[in-house]
Symmetry: C2
Subunit: 405 residues, 2 copies
């Protein structure tokens, strides 16, 4: 189950139709720069092989000329599985070709050693494959497993997972062997970014960032159609930007002061609320209730968090200059509590035209994380690594004029 022989134009046309919804052939040609003939030629095998279908006429009365025919991807042509691994739970999802969920399952994780986790993933996958709701679901093409930490999707290795205490685990290979399904793995935030790039609010943008707010605060960056991984596997570590500001006296888990996470993560908000109210048993739900009921001290905690978040978002905008920043994560459920502060701080700190960056908020139910895995799996099919000629594939270290450190 692969796309027709990967002539560049075929892939390009498919990607364009995928990310920009139903389009006419002519429109595809204009968007991609391909000639009309090339579009027809590329579309033919895709139609023959049922990857795309012809729909009716585009809406909107035309004036003259031959009416165009819309083509769209057949979402049910292929399915994917996504699994998100957390410290104590697995979230699984089965999707169609557009990474839209068809079925979801979760499973507790009672042990964190590699074998147990692989087994649990394998069981969850089995459930998803045989789920009744999946009876009529598209045939599964591949599986994407996501996990926070230093993950090398290229080699399929988890270099380091802090909360599982894993080092150098060839997870993709292990899961593939256990499930019999082709498997890719990826960092969780990057996977979410891939999902937005291909199937979400980042589709077609030259650059955008996804900021996730929750237990941790992270970011995924997409620049020029590629999700940034960082030369050493680290990128988008927005949680430890030293924004200082109010609350800078709080120590972060990373050992520094002034980190965004130390002020704006769920945990940090709970702790600060406890401190502000003197009640050491308060939960996040309590904090939200108090803030919504108008408690000044607690509102101040959220305001500080919003300020830190606004500074972080402004930092991303100033550094990368993305077209859009998508604010997401579990923490967004309570976004109303700091939206104003985020907006104000962002406007104040964004420099010049960086203010023009489009800020949008997307709720992120936890199951959505698993969708990232499916998106990464789908990406394998949709945008296979073309071994295309490039400058300096082998990176050879140049001389080091003068080192610091």
């Amino acid at each position: 189950m692969e796309l027709p022989r990967q002539a560049p134009a075929v892939t390009l046309v498919f990607q364009t139709v995928l990310t920009h919804g139903p389009l006419t052939r002519a429109e595809v040609g204009r968007r991609t720069g391909l000639s009309p003939g090339a579009v027809t030629k590329a579309a033919t095998p895709l139609l023959d092989d049922d990857w795309i279908v012809e729909l009716g006429r585009p809406a909107g009365g035309r004036l003259a000329g031959r009416p165009a025919t819309l083509v769209a991807v057949r979402a049910e042509r292929a399915g994917f599985l996504g699994v998100k691994v957390t410290a104590d739970e697995l979230f699984g999802v089965r999707t169609d070709l557009t990474a839209r969920p068809i079925a979801t399952r979760r499973a507790a994780l009672d042990s964190r050693d590699v074998g147990s986790v692989v087994l649990a993933i394998s069981r969850l996958v089995q459930k998803l494959v045989t789920a009744p709701s999946a009876r009529k679901a598209p045939e599964v093409h591949s599986l994407g497993v996501t996990i926070s930490g230093d993950v090398d999707g290229h080699t399929g290795t988890v270099h380091h997972s802090p909360f599982l205490n894993w080092h150098g685990v060839p997870l993709a290979q292990l899961v593939e062997k256990a499930t019999g399904i082709p498997t890719v793995i990826e960092n969780d935030v990057r996977a979410l970014t891939v999902a937005e790039q291909w199937f979400g609010a980042g589709a077609g943008l030259s650059s955008f960032a996804v900021i996730t707010v929750g237990t941790g605060i992270g970011a995924g960056l997409s620049i020029g159609g590629r999700v940034v991984s960082g030369a050493h596997g680290v990128a988008g570590e927005v949680g430890h930007l030293p924004v200082g500001g109010d609350g800078a006296e709080r120590m972060c888990t990373c050992g520094n002061r002034g980190c965004v996470e130390a002020v704006a993560s769920t945990q940090a908000i709970v702790e600060q609320t406890r401190q502000a109210t003197g009640d050491p048993t308060l939960t996040m739900a309590d904090a939200v209730r108090l803030a919504r009921s108008g408690d000044a001290a607690v509102r101040e905690v959220f305001s500080r968090a919003g300020h830190a978040l606004g500074l972080a978002i402004a930092s991303v905008a100033n550094l990368i200059g993305p077209e859009r920043i998508i604010i997401s994560g579990e923490g967004v459920a309570t976004y109303d509590l700091f939206a104003d502060q985020v907006r104000t701080t962002f406007a104040a700190q964004a420099f010049g035209a960086a203010k023009d960056c489009d800020l949008i908020v997307r709720p992120l139910p936890f199951e959505e994380w698993a969708r990232g895995g499916a998106a990464v799996a789908a990406q394998q099919l949709v945008a296979p690594e073309t071994a295309r000629p490039q400058l300096s594939r082998r990176v050879d270290r140049a001389e080091h004029p003068e080192r610091v450190g």
Copy 2:
């Protein structure tokens, strides 16, 4: 004077030889992924047209097989001009194909209106073209003008230059008309980044950042072989990252507190030294002298600057995860005064593998800025914008789920 008809492989081979010094054809093939035959075929017209030459054998005793032949670019095959525009001075440079300076000139700028500046640039260019040292210099191919602010290199327009108070000036066109030389313009820091990418410490790296320290503090980013411009023309604005920390009480020119520039720019250092010593007439040179002589209060000023800089550099490392960060700018001349602090802070704040980022320092005499212009001009020849098919050339705004602000 253009490269032989731009077959992709020809450009690719030329770029590879240019950025990776003398190479054998076989090595070029391995690095680019081209077949041996394709390399030979691409090299032939380049040799015929004198863009590259064959050198001798590679050093290092080979074991067996036909000895290889090195090929290298002929630096004297083409020349470029670069001009950097500042508030009160122009710096010009004439370079060879590898953006290496052959002659430099400077000129005072007594008026800042567009006509005067264009005229001054034109005069400076004339001097460079007719300079005696340039007698045997390569024929000039094109000119690159750089200037700080919001510059759109694609359209050749200066959208906004704060210190010249320009808005929407079609500078490239004006200079081209005045000089008769094909002209491109670019933001100064981005131009410096282009220079490093093609001809400097960034050659062949998958990603790197250039941080310039001086009157202002800026950064240029190169990711995946492309210099990041930002969707709205703003990127790398590291000077206004809200790092807070010590000295956060100082107000920045941008109106915020805690900006890196408010603590670590040349101006900020002078002001803080004046404050620390109570002497309102001190200059930067005095500050440096005092610090070198061991004055504790002044050393503290530099230390604070180093701390802020370290935080900024760590922020870039955490966000982008570049392979290398090049610290440069006029301020680097006194780098010894805050090197330790920069290193310490960076190590503390860089998250996980972001610490592996290679930090190097490159002195940047002011004339070097002009070289950036030449590099941008060279880039036009060396890496012309290929109108190659791409995903969503037209960026059409998608729906906006929920706006903030």
